[in-house]
Homo-oligomer: 213 residues x 2
C-alpha cells in the first residue's frame, strides 16, 4: 500500500502578512506549483466586477442583499467590509474540498484568519510572513510604481497593525529570500499533511495491518 | 536580519515504530545528515557495558542503586525495565540542549514516549512509523540473519502491540520507501522548527521591526 493512498481530510493553509512582505507572490507560487495540488479559495464580493475578471474564477460576484442574506444564515467562514464593499469566504466549497482531501490556500488578513480559526480550528494551518526589516518593507512598497505616496504611508501604518498580530499564528516565517520562504511553506504543507488527525484513512489501514495473521 | 538568527527553543523529535519498520535506520540517517544538526539522546542504563561501547557515547552506564536514586529524585524523563536491566532518559542534558536551541532525537517505544509527552508536551514532536504491510514487516525481520525464529515470532507479537499505539502520535508515516520516509521526517523537522511557540527570539525581532520609525 502506498502512503499516498491513505484517505486524508484536506487542510486550510492561511497566509497572512503585511502588504509588501511577499504573501501574494508566495500564494501564487504555491498555486502554480502543480504537484502541490493546492486550490486557492475564491471570495464572494459585492464589489463591481472589472472587465478583466471572471465570475467564479477571480471572485464570486453578488449583490449586497444576497451577501447579507448568506452571511446572516452562517454561509460565510469570514467576512469584512472594505471601503463600502463586502468580501467573504463561502463555507460550502471549502467543506466540500476538505471532505474530498483537497487542500485550500487563503490569502487573508488577521481579522479574517481569526474568524476562520474560530470556526475551523482543526482544519486550519496559519502562517504569518514577516519582512526581514521595516526598511525593506518600505522599499518594497516604494518600488510599486502604481501607488501614490499617501497610499504607501497608509499601507505602512496598516503593516504595523497587521504585524502586531503575529502571535496568533501557528507558524512564523521571515521572508528574507523568496525561494527560501517558499521552501519553508512547502515543508509546512508536507508536514501538516502527515498529521495523524488529518489522515482519516489510517484507522482502516492499521486495522488491515493488524488483521494479517 | 537572517531568519536563522532568531533564537529558538530546541525540540524533542521522538520516533517510534515496531521493530523492523525502519526506525533505527531513519534515526541514524537523521543524525548523520550534518546540516540537520540533530543530536541523539543518550540513555542511562544499568546493563553491563559491551567492549565495543563507550560510556557517554552509546550509553551512560550506571549501577542499579544509582539508577533508582536518580529516577526517584525525578531526574529521568522516562524509564523502563527490560529483561532485568533498567534504561532511562536523563532530564538534565535534554533541558540544557533545548534551552540552547539544540534539537534532540529519541528512538524509544510507546511507553517511553507517553512518559516524555506527559512531562514535556510543548517541546515534543512524536512520529510513528508504520510498515507498508505486515508481510513486509515479517520479511524484514526474517532477513535479519542474527535473530532466531522464536525471537522473530516474539518481535512480531511486540510489533502488533506497538502498532496499536499509533493514535497517540502527532504524525504518522508509512515507510514504503526509505528515502521518501526520510524526506518526510526532514519536512516535519523543518516545519516544527518554524512553529511560533518555539521561536523565542521573535518577540524581540518584531519589537525592533515595529520600533523603526
Amino acid at each position: 500500500m502506498q502512503s499516498t493512498d491513505i484517505a486524508r481530510r484536506g487542510l486550510m493553509l492561511i497566509l497572512s502578512s503585511p502588504s509588501g512582505a511577499g504573501k501574494t507572490t508566495l500564494t501564487r507560487s504555491l498555486i502554480e506549483r502543480n504537484e502541490l495540488q493546492l486550490q486557492l479559495s475564491i471570495s464572494l464580493t459585492t464589489r463591481p466586477r472589472r472587465p478583466s475578471e471572471v465570475d467564479g474564477v477571480h471572485y464570486y460576484f453578488t449583490e449586497k442583499d444576497q451577501f447579507a442574506f448568506r452571511r446572516d444564515r452562517g454561509d460565510l467562514l469570514e467576512w469584512a467590509e472594505v471601503h463600502g464593499n463586502f468580501y467573504g469566504t463561502p463555507r460550502q466549497p471549502v467543506e466540500k474540498a476538505l471532505a474530498s482531501g483537497q487542500d485550500m490556500v487563503f490569502d487573508i488578513d488577521w481579522q479574517g484568519t481569526q474568524q476562520i480559526v474560530e470556526k475551523m480550528r482543526e482544519d486550519v494551518v496559519t502562517v504569518f510572513i514577516l519582512p526581514p526589516s521595516f526598511a525593506e518593507l518600505r522599499s518594497r512598497l516604494d518600488r510599486r510604481a502604481e501607488d501614490a505616496a499617501d497610499v504607501i504611508a497608509r499601507r505602512l501604518e496598516n503593516a504595523r497593525t497587521e504585524i502586531a498580530r503575529w502571535e496568533a499564528y501557528d507558524y512564523v516565517l521571515i521572508n528574507d529570500d523568496l525561494n527560501h520562504a517558499f521552501e519553508q511553506l512547502v515543508a509546512i504543507l508536507q508536514a501538516e499533511r502527515l498529521k495523524r488527525k488529518r489522515r482519516t484513512g489510517l484507522a482502516h489501514f492499521v486495522e488491515s495491518l493488524l488483521s494479517t495473521p
